[in-house]
Homo-oligomer: 349 residues x 2
Amino acid sequence: MRDSAGTASPARGTVSDLGEHALLARLRALAPPPPPWVIVGIGDDAAVLEPPRNQLDVVTTDALVEHVHFDRRFSSPADVGHKALAVNLSDLAAMGAEPRAALLSLALPDTLLVAEFDALVQAFLAAAASQRVALVGGNLSRSPGPLVVDVTAVGAVRRRRVLGRAGARPGDALYLSGTVGAAAAGLGWLRAHAGAEAPREPVPPIVERYRRPSPRVRLGVIVGRNRAAAACVDLSDGLADAARQIAGASGTGAVLDAAAIPVDAGAREWYQGQGLDPLEAALAGGEDYELLFAVPRRRRRGFLAAARLARDTRVTCIGAVTEGPTVALRRNGREEALPAGFAHFADRR
Amino acid sequence: MRDSAGTASPARGTVSDLGEHALLARLRALAPPPPPWVIVGIGDDAAVLEPPRNQLDVVTTDALVEHVHFDRRFSSPADVGHKALAVNLSDLAAMGAEPRAALLSLALPDTLLVAEFDALVQAFLAAAASQRVALVGGNLSRSPGPLVVDVTAVGAVRRRRVLGRAGARPGDALYLSGTVGAAAAGLGWLRAHAGAEAPREPVPPIVERYRRPSPRVRLGVIVGRNRAAAACVDLSDGLADAARQIAGASGTGAVLDAAAIPVDAGAREWYQGQGLDPLEAALAGGEDYELLFAVPRRRRRGFLAAARLARDTRVTCIGAVTEGPTVALRRNGREEALPAGFAHFADRR
């Protein structure tokens, strides 16, 4: 990020009234002092970080694009700031990596209010602080259309503790963190209540799960540290997609046990009210940001101990890795094809 | 980047016809095999990289947003792919860092042709290969508006060889790589020739300087390695801005010598034809992606030797760091204020 001699002005007007230098000054004023391993932070051409000794660097990038990944009728700027970091930390967690630093690249519509910019940045920084992630740089530019929040997250992991997605073997158990279906149900609830009037009902917890996902950072790190799983992916594109990703990368199949899949109670209620099968909706719905692990038989005890230690969320055995190549759902004693996964790219919200 | 079991299909139709999985498969088919220090590359939740021994990580991100940073009437998808990497490598070069890896995050309009996607990715990969940069991950999403190309570049530098922008001291000489003014003049030429008809004149070299900047990677790395400069910035936002950035970060002033500033010959001709002062236009024009160094007197000989060794471009002494705080232009024996820098954020192309 570029340096600026400007000082933060009051939160009035739009970002285009202020301009890049003043916005950067605001951002720098909001960011806490960096930890000592940040040799050069915000304000130079690039950030310089001291890598932790004997660890590997883990890097990922993921963007939230307005009208594709979020709608400002349904998510506040603060929700978007929180989620943009969360989805990247979820990717690090799925590798067993401890998050360290983030870069924030924003493309801002001219009409965005300075107060909205502040709220987005503050929520991003609050989420970062809660996971001990340092904002070390980024980029601000105008957008002629959507608000785009592109985040790069940097983490660290020891070589023998990387949780790839390709390590699953037939016979491994599939364990899922938390519950599924809530985020997609929350978005469904918001769409159903999108009207000229503000919704009269109180916003249910499924909406919070959609707006403010909690990446399973501790769980991923502790499972990786204890080498308690053979493979892991996150559920950004849904459980059905996650099972396919592990199977595809590992050259195996998978079978999920319908009766074991923990569908969120609020999501179940929402889908039933809509006349939909809660399980099918939960399998296909994206954005739960839970983790799916493949756990060899001899590591199950260690995996469950690690999961308890993480105190992040419960884990549930929901199926097994098979010889393949099919990825199936076992329901009422029969195997059927998994529903198609959630695809951001094809989704036209 | 997500894994995909799909295979590359012929370059027909639009990106929305193909969808994310098929586009990722195309991208993976185009990317060369990664070097051995890429432990996990494209296709998992995050990339895992082995850091070079005893070096620091350097990370930067910079986006090109359609209608803000480029116009598809003036730059081809291949130009955009090349430039998106170049502007990030320029930031690494300004820190003295050797580039290693890049992440590519694309927000793609539905109407973008698959052939355009391929051309963008191929030019990005060609620029990466020429600088020995490995594409290790990224993200694809739809865009409801502009094409957005957001790149994160990762490099490495030894601790004592970091070229920050804050190290300048009064008395240091200011050295500039290459020439200034060409990129902004090239954009001016394109705008002047933007019409329904294709321009009849051949495209002059200033247009190539605008479309395909060459980041000064070797120069930055070799100057850093020889500790031959006290501070450095790149000229993404123009020479006037760069001088202000070094002075502002270092708590100094600066004076540039008008007669010494090497304005590109083609740019000079273009600006004179437009009735503009070439020097003022070159000072304010952005996107030259040259480097500005502050060089202490006792290091000048070493700096010039390092610059010769880099065989990247010539360097010119164009002024000096002063006690400050003013940043001025000395012209015809008088000092005057520098023109305002180039600001992407305020620029409405």
